[in-house]
């Protein structure tokens, strides 16, 4: 069974990798977006799903990744690889610097503090001449959707692999303990501060790299789009939709929701966001623990699964 699962996953990865060679340009572009958003969602899963800290600062990591890459390439004329590293370093450094004070806060206080960061960052960046102020930066043009697609896929596989490692490692068990009861985790001799900062840095690493790839692909960034707080909201929704604290839930959730919003946007353009909201409300009511739980629960108890959920969560 384990081997079968592994073979299936490998096959899926190869299948996904083959997409740009057979599919239309539109589909490949949709794929790049979906893969990058899935990577961001997986990053949020590390801090939000495993550690239980509802971060609204992940879009800041994404933004710093885009700016690190854009400044290195547009202002310093460095190659893309160096730019990507610069973006990653910037994101992780920021997570380490601000994680230590902010991760002392719990629950809603933590959420609000990170939300503040997102708002402040775009204002700060808009005043820095080197970062293009509020006009933004234009990166050198590179036509290579296949490369961007494969790069995004590799990043998503790396992020998912990291989460799979988390799920069975000592470090990951420590994070889950923090989520379940932080005081008890401390009593068990877990250095909670170090663990939380580590989780945030991991999330920042993947988010900023995703930002770097996106910046070079789109070739234009400005403070508004780089530090867009709704991007963070999407990460939260997609994680919850798929199943927080699981390995494949967030990936599945973000693929499904990306597809749903794409289809809605092209078929019923004007009221697409209304339908999107409707889908999310239905999801919260009928499968509050995510898609993965739905699959397991449905196999176990059929349609009664929905009734059980509604009763359990008093809806």
């Amino acid at each position: 069974m384990k081997n079968l699962q592994r073979a299936g996953l490998a096959l899926l990865a190869v299948g996904l990798a083959a997409v740009p060679f057979v599919a239309s340009d539109t589909l490949v572009q949709f794929g790049i977006n979906a893969l990058l958003v899935a990577t961001l969602t997986q990053g949020w899963n590390i801090i939000g799903g495993f550690t239980g800290y509802p971060s609204f600062g992940n879009s800041v990591f994404y933004g710093l990744g885009t700016y690190g890459t854009a400044i290195a390439m547009a202002q310093l004329h460095l190659p893309f690889g160096v730019g990507l590293v610069a973006g990653g370093v910037l994101g992780v450094a920021f997570a380490l610097l601000f994680g230590i004070p902010i991760l002392r806060l719990r629950g809603p206080y933590f959420a609000i503090a990170t939300l503040g960061l997102a708002a402040v960052m775009s204002a700060i960046v808009a005043t820095i001449g080197f970062a293009g102020k509020n006009i933004g930066l234009i990166l050198p043009l590179f036509r290579g959707d296949t490369l961007f697609y494969e790069l995004s896929l590799v990043l998503l596989v790396a992020a998912t692999g990291t989460v799979a490692w988390l799920a069975r490692s000592r470090f990951g068990a420590g994070l889950v303990a923090i989520r379940e009861d932080e005081d008890a985790a401390q009593v068990m001799g877990i250095n909670t501060t170090m663990y939380k900062v580590g989780a945030l840095a991991l999330a920042a690493f993947f988010s900023s790299l995703a930002g770097g790839i996106h910046a070079y692909w789109i070739t234009f960034i400005d403070p508004g789009s780089a530090f867009d707080p709704t991007l963070n909201v999407r990460m939260v929704i997609m994680t919850l939709f798929g199943g927080p604290g699981t390995i494949f839930g967030p990936v599945l959730g973000s693929f499904v929701l990306s597809a749903v919003s794409e289809v809605l946007a092209s078929k019923v353009s004007t009221v697409a966001s209304l339908f999107y909201g409707f889908v999310i409300v239905l999801a919260v009511v009928f499968m509050p623990k995510g898609l993965l739980d739905l699959f397991q629960g449905f196999r176990h108890s059929g349609f009664r699964y929905f009734a059980q959920n509604m009763r359990r969560f008093r809806l």
């Binding site: 303990a177 009861d181 008890a184 985790a185 068990m188 001799g189 877990i190």
Partner: protein, 238 residues
Amino acid sequence: MSAPLLEIAGLSAGYGEVPVLSGVGLVIQPGEIVTLVGSNGAGKTTLLRAVSRVIAGRGTLRFDGHDLLTHTPEQVFGLGLVQVPEGRQLFDKMSVEDNLKMGAYRRKDEAGIARSFERVYELFPRMKERRTQIAGSLSGGEQQMCAIARALMAAPKLLAVDEMSLGLAPVVVDQLLAVLAEIRKQGVTVLLVEQDVFAAFTVADRGYVMETGRIVREGAISVLSNDPEVQKAYLGVQ
């Protein structure tokens, strides 16, 4: 006389600007059961917090030959000073067995952990029966057993139990006291912090009485329980 396992002298600690403990002294020899009693707000839990380095303190704080003041809370835990916190603090949504595993989180000796599991299940057969049950669904007494079992999984030298009797039926408290005596037989020193003086005195060798952040009485249980002041204040003897 051998070196004490825990030695506290002239310890002062508090929260921010508010001092709670002033000049507290307490000594525990290896293999003893020592109880710290006192009414609500006397500073008992604060003392435990200072000892486990969760709050800052000044004075002498030595455990098993180490100066605790230079250690972080995680390091204190690693030295073998393990707490069963007030209110138990179990991982409510995890199974009993996973809770116990979390107790051994910092240990890497697989064989030793397996032995601890055996020993703990022998001590608490009920925990073995319920090992797959979610900890939050246990009864109060079982949760306290689970909390003590979890602490034992860390292979402590000193087990500090805070308010073990809180919210439990007297008959359950008696069972737990018997377990503490058994734990001591297996070589673990116990510090029992209690409001229930009666219960604490049935199992301890020596006791300390705390009032408003100071130790006001100390001695063998036989002496303390005959002390008229202690009798009047804590044992209800007129």
